[in-house]
């Protein structure tokens, strides 16, 4: 845009200059012709007039500088009586384009052309050259050329150009600044909104967008806030509902404990004297006792589950030797395994068996898995393998007994899941054991995985990171796969 403007200005200026140059030269030619006609015919007089004509630039229009004059013999004038070729000493003949001289030769009117004016001192300036004819007594036809330099125009134009550039630059700065402000006005609220939305997603439900003004952005903000409030309320309602429910399960479990303690003690007392009762009552005492045991286990597991649900499970972290813990669990269960004719093999391959865990929970997982394996081993051996790598430790418990239907494997960690609902459980588990075991593993950022095949046994692998929060890079023991 700036250069187009500059073009227009320069064209205007040049055209104006051309116009004034043409009228000035017409006037000058007229004046020169008059002087030659009336000035005298001596050699000296002619030369003097020629000198005056050439150097009269200031006399005609004082304000217009940069006019040079060249007086040169016409190409038709082959043999003049007197040669009065004159040139204002500052310009060279080369400034006149030869094309212009040819045109003047064949023209009755003044001709003009744009040219580069060469000065004696060597510097060149764009300008125009206007040519006309003079008829000089005794001398014959002569050409007179007026050279008008554009120097002042070029200077003016340069000045204009510089101002235009400056203005352009300032304009550019202004545009950049305004754009930045506009973008800030538009982008910033959007970016803020995106950030708030991310935080909201991350769980900070109380986050709201600050709404300023009444444009589309602020309407978006208002809508977002309304949505956020609705979601927050809904989630709070659900949270409360679920809290009330968990609280209820927890309270029920706790409230049951005191009467259960009384029942437990009363039953123990009766059970201790069962020999003194008649058979039916004696058997009843036994049943009472065993069912109270079962009830107690169920209640304990239920309470544990309610703690997981309420994410209230407290962790008691200490460093333990996993080898030692597994070995102790196997020893503790040796009575049961002996009773079931099950041999438990332990294979330890551990560089560093120390791991940071809640010992009670890990021991509970191990006991649960071992008891299950022994229960379902069908008098075949149970293989326990411990392996570790830099990031994690794994315990695999593999039995070769009745196994699990592969289709049922994904469900083994479900609460109250039973492999075969009709089959009596020999050790009377609560149906919550594996579910609790998996929750315990997850509390340690570990995994508990299962594999099974009917009549080929089952494998459970507990993998724990060395420290809670560590990432398990690779599992030290891979789960079996069903071919």
């Amino acid at each position: 845009m700036g250069s187009a403007l500059l073009n227009r200005i320069s064209t205007g200026v040049v055209n104006e200059k051309i116009k004034s140059a043409l009228s000035e030269s017409t006037l000058a030619v007229y004046s020169a012709q008059f002087r030659f006609t009336s000035g005298g015919v001596t050699d000296a007089a002619l030369k003097k007039i020629a000198q005056e004509v050439v150097n009269a630039k200031k006399a005609i229009r004082a304000t217009d500088s940069g006019r040079e004059v060249i007086l040169i013999r016409s190409a038709k004038n082959l043999d003049p009586e007197v040669a009065i070729d004159t040139v204002s000493n500052r310009v060279s003949y080369e400034s006149i384009p030869s094309e212009l001289r040819d045109r003047l030769l064949n023209s009755g009117d003044p001709v003009w052309a744009r040219s580069i004016i060469e000065y004696a001192d060597g510097h060149k300036v764009p300008g125009i050259v206007v040519g006309d004819k003079l008829s000089i007594p005794r001398v014959g036809p002569y050409d007179i050329y007026f050279l008008f330099s554009f120097e002042s125009q070029v200077n003016t134009l340069n000045l204009v150009k510089n101002y235009l550039f400056l203005a352009g630059f300032i304009l550019l700065l202004l545009i950049v600044g305004i754009t930045y402000l506009v973008i800030r006005q538009v982008i910033e609220p959007v970016r803020d909104a995106a950030k708030i939305a991310e935080e909201f997603t991350a769980g900070k439900l109380e986050k709201r967008i600050s709404v300023v003004g009444s444009d589309e952005i602020s309407r978006l903000g208002i809508s977002f806030n309304a949505m956020a409030t609705a979601i927050e309320q809904q989630i709070k309602r659900l949270e409360n509902l679920s809290k009330v429910q968990q609280r209820f399960v927890s309270d029920v479990s706790h409230e049951l404990r005191t009467p259960l303690t009384t029942i437990r003690m009363a039953s123990d007392l009766i059970y201790a004297y069962r020999d003194k009762f008649e058979p039916n009552i004696s058997r009843s005492a036994e049943l009472l006792q065993s069912q109270i045991d079962r009830f107690e286990l169920l209640l304990a597991d239920l309470l544990e589950v309610s703690r997981f649900d309420a994410t209230e499970a407290a962790m008691e972290i200490s460093e333990i030797d996993l080898n030692e813990m597994v070995a102790r669990c196997i020893t503790d269960l040796s009575l049961i395994s002996a009773e079931k004719n099950v041999v438990v093999n332990l294979e330890k391959d551990l560089v560093n068996p120390i791991v940071s865990v809640d010992a009670r929970r890990i021991e509970r997982i191990l006991r649960n898995l071992l008891t299950n394996a022994i229960d379902h081993a069908n008098e075949k051996p149970v293989d326990v393998t411990i392996k570790s790598n830099s990031s994690a430790l794994s315990v695999s418990i593999r039995d070769y007994g009745i196994g699990i239907d592969p289709a049922q494997v994904p469900r083994v960690f479900d609460r109250f899941w039973r492999a075969d609902p009709a089959r009596a459980r020999s050790r009377g588990g609560t149906g919550l054991g594996l579910s609790i075991a998996q929750e315990d593993a997850h509390l340690h950022d570990g995994t508990l995985k299962a594999w099974g095949k009917l009549n080929e046994g089952a494998q459970f692998i507990l993998t724990l990171p060395r420290k809670i929060g560590w990432k398990i890079e690779a599992e030290p023991i891979e789960l079996l796969t069903t071919k």
């Binding site: 706790h254 409230e255 404990r257 005191t258 009467p259 259960l260 303690t261 009384t262 029942i263 437990r264 003690m265 009363a266 123990d268 007392l269 107690e296 703690r307 499970a313 407290a314 008691e316 200490s318 460093e319 333990i320 030797d321 102790r328 503790d332 120390i354 010992a359 009670r360 021991e363």
Partner: protein, 230 residues
């Protein structure tokens, strides 16, 4: 005859506890409100207190503190329906020696009471030296520079268990079995809290213990070798 103060607001449970403990040859006093405990305690100091944590009048933790302020020696066993809550740790820190989670077997309760009441094994006698602490087994006192440091019976038992084999590393399980009489337990809180309490009393700087030191990944040991006296 051994006497136990049972503090529980559940009348039926308290009565049942009475029956069971009487059957084991233990005399029982019953209190059902927390704010009545100290009156009974002062008038008829028991050999042991069975204390429910949830009580009307004054809660069990506070009762525990009051009893400890009055008597350093009497063993306190908490009865609680919540085995894993903060309350248990608070109770232990307030001075309880042990706790039982409801429901418990009567035989277990009686065994636990007997463990708490038994005197430290009689095969040891005389003075054990551990660093600058002198442990008088018979007198059940420990002294430093001739000044007695008051310890609960359990803290004393814990210290003796560690001190009689200086340098031996005890796992928490071993200590639970040795001091608390637990056969299978990994309740590390019990050990940890009491070690902390004991350190607070015997260490010069309990942040940097030198008398009872932690062995990473295993347990505790009496840090500085002592000499068995007499």
């Amino acid at each position: 005859m051994t006497s136990v103060l049972v503090v529980d607001d559940d009348q039926d449970l308290a009565e049942m506890l009475g029956i069971v403990l009487n059957g084991a040859g233990i005399e029982v006093d019953l209190v059902s409100r927390g704010d009545e405990v100290m009156d009974v305690f002062r008038n008829n100091p028991p050999d042991l207190v069975l204390l429910d944590l949830m009580l009307p009048g004054l809660d069990g933790i506070e009762v525990c503190r009051q009893i400890r302020a009055f008597s350093v020696r009497v063993p306190i066993v908490m009865l609680t329906a919540k085995g894993d809550t903060h309350d248990v740790v608070l109770g232990l820190e307030a001075g309880a020696d042990d706790y039982m989670v409801k429901p418990f077997k009567p035989s277990e309760l009686v065994a636990r009471i007997r463990t708490r009441l038994r005197r430290t094994s009689s095969e040891l006698s005389g003075i054990l030296l551990l660093a600058d602490i002198a442990i008088d087994i018979l007198e059940h006192t420990i002294t430093r520079d001739g000044k007695e440091i008051p310890l609960t019976r359990l803290e004393f038992d814990l210290l003796v268990a560690l001190a009689k084999e200086p340098g031996r590393v005890f796992t928490r399980e071993a200590l639970l079995s040795e001091v608390w009489g637990y056969r299978h337990s990994t309740d590390t809180r019990l050990v940890n809290v009491h070690i902390q309490r004991l350190r607070a009393k015997v260490e010069h700087d309990s942040e940097n213990p030198t008398i009872i030191t932690t062995v990473r990944g295993i347990g505790y040991k009496a840090g500085v070798s002592g000499t068995r006296g007499h």
